[in-house]
Amino acid sequence: MDRRQFLKAIGGGSAVAGSTGLWFFGTEAGRSPDSYTGMKNREGGYQTFDRKKWAVSNPTYDKVGPTSRADGRTDVIFARMGYLRRYDKEKGLDSFPPHVRDYYTKHPEDLELDITVRREIHQKRAEDVKKYRNEFILSKAWSSAMGAVGPRGVNGPPEEWDFPRGGASTPYKMKDPRQTSRLIKKVSHQCGSTLVGIAELNPDWVYKYPMNGGRGFKANEPIEVPEHWKYAIVVGVPMSWDPMYANPPYGTSNDAYSLSRIVAYRLTAFIKSLGYAARPHTPGASYDLMVPPILVDAGIGEQGRHSIVITPELGCNFRPSIVTTNIPMEADKPIDIGVQDFCKTCKICAEQCPSGAISKGEKETIRGYERYALHSSKCSNFWSSKLGNMGCRLCVAVCPYTRKANWLHKAALNVTMHDPTGLSDHALAGMQELLYPGQEPQKYYMPSMGGENASYRPVPWWLKTEDFIDLPDPEEPTTRSSE
């Protein structure tokens, strides 16, 4: 074989070897544990996005008029549900205290959804649970395990609970706010947080009235925003990726809720140990403020069409907590990664949402700020109807930004961030619909409501009950805790 023949043979062999290598690269990139962002994060290695490059002076929501604060008693569905058991058909709206009556007078559709529809749904659900509960034995057990550990809640008013030893402590003098921010971020990661950001707290985000009179606040007494709630430290951790894609029925919020809570309480303890005030606001419903706009202010991400904040690292697959504090820090700036433009084009979450809670239209003015409306009664009615674990999270799973960290999805994110024309938004949203399709929305419902208990993606192998357990007769009465 002469030199030229040798080069041709080597060239041909290289082409085959290179192509084969790319196949193995692809499959490895697709299933690599490294693409499950946030599942190991103590050194902060997953907050890799260069936020300074995309920082903007003003947040990506618009203030368009006089603002008002949300009423935690009625604007928050979890708090509103607390009043529903008082409802008496004979008395009608008179069953409720004046503020709830006012709310339902302004939102009559919510009254129908919160009471009549919910009752019908719960009756149907009770029947379906008996028939289909076997499918969800492992996922419910896993959810229960993930929620088994958590700190004790806040049980005092801010002027007492937030301060070390009830306010008797003298804080250490911090040398430099910028250095303190660095320290707090490092400690947040050490506490287990994947993402962390810092904002100066905008009082507009604090509830006008507390959600349910807990956390040291008296019911129906307005919250005076305490002076020591100067900063908001935002922390967030992802939900386990594979079960998250198997939402609505198989995923859970408990894994991220639990860790997010633990991080916030650890951070609170750290700050209090330095003599400063700190108060955690944590999931599921232990808040004195609205979380998404604070995430935006802290540069964690941008609020999407589905009202959830979209981050460059995790998409919207994360659960945040907030610690309000007075330790002097340098706040982060908001970022603009093109989510507003993308969400204008992409309506996948709205089209996939079985309840129709996510707006397909334009942004609306809500309490003086422009954003996409979310119909919380519709959302809540769906997720409390479905079988399996509590909650839905389908909008998280279908969002094109919620993709694992491999070369393919990082490249798509970079294209949409760098394209000023918006053309790539159309192309990428179209490709998302074509290549990563969801189910027909009706299929996500339980069978008695015309659905199939469908999930966005198949259940992970380790949550397939039938592969591990001899299934009991579903009609057999049971006292197992998973039901």
Partner: protein, 107 residues
């Protein structure tokens, strides 16, 4: 970090890429077709597109996104085939006829 997502893999991939282009150049020249810089770049671009297609399908399979692997695979493969035909014709530009009766002849 596994091998195929490591820097070592991309180092090896770079070497085989250069060898493949070199082999193509020699092969084309042996068929009396000049293979200058622009042809080299054109062939490289097409090979990158082919590489993207293979990696896309592999990644989708790895992620268990079978619909993406199938649909994306078909779409990108068709694009690769069509552009491949065009690129092949462009690469043959300048081929010299050396003997009568050579049926592959083209100028």
């Amino acid at each position: 970090m596994w091998f195929f997502t490591s820097g070592a893999f991309w180092f090896a991939e770079g070497i085989v890429f250069v060898l493949a282009i070199t082999g193509l150049k020699v092969w084309m020249e042996d068929r009396n077709t000049p293979f200058g810089l622009w042809k080299c770049l054109l062939a490289s671009l097409w090979m990158l597109m082919l590489g993207f297609t293979i990696a896309f399908i592999g990644t989708s399979v790895g992620e268990n996104e079978i619909v993406a692997a199938k649909k994306g695979g078909i779409i990108f493969s068709v694009i690769c085939f069509i552009t491949g035909v065009v690129v092949w014709r462009l690469l043959r530009i300048g081929r010299v006829k050396i003997a009568p009766g050579d049926e592959d002849e083209e100028v």
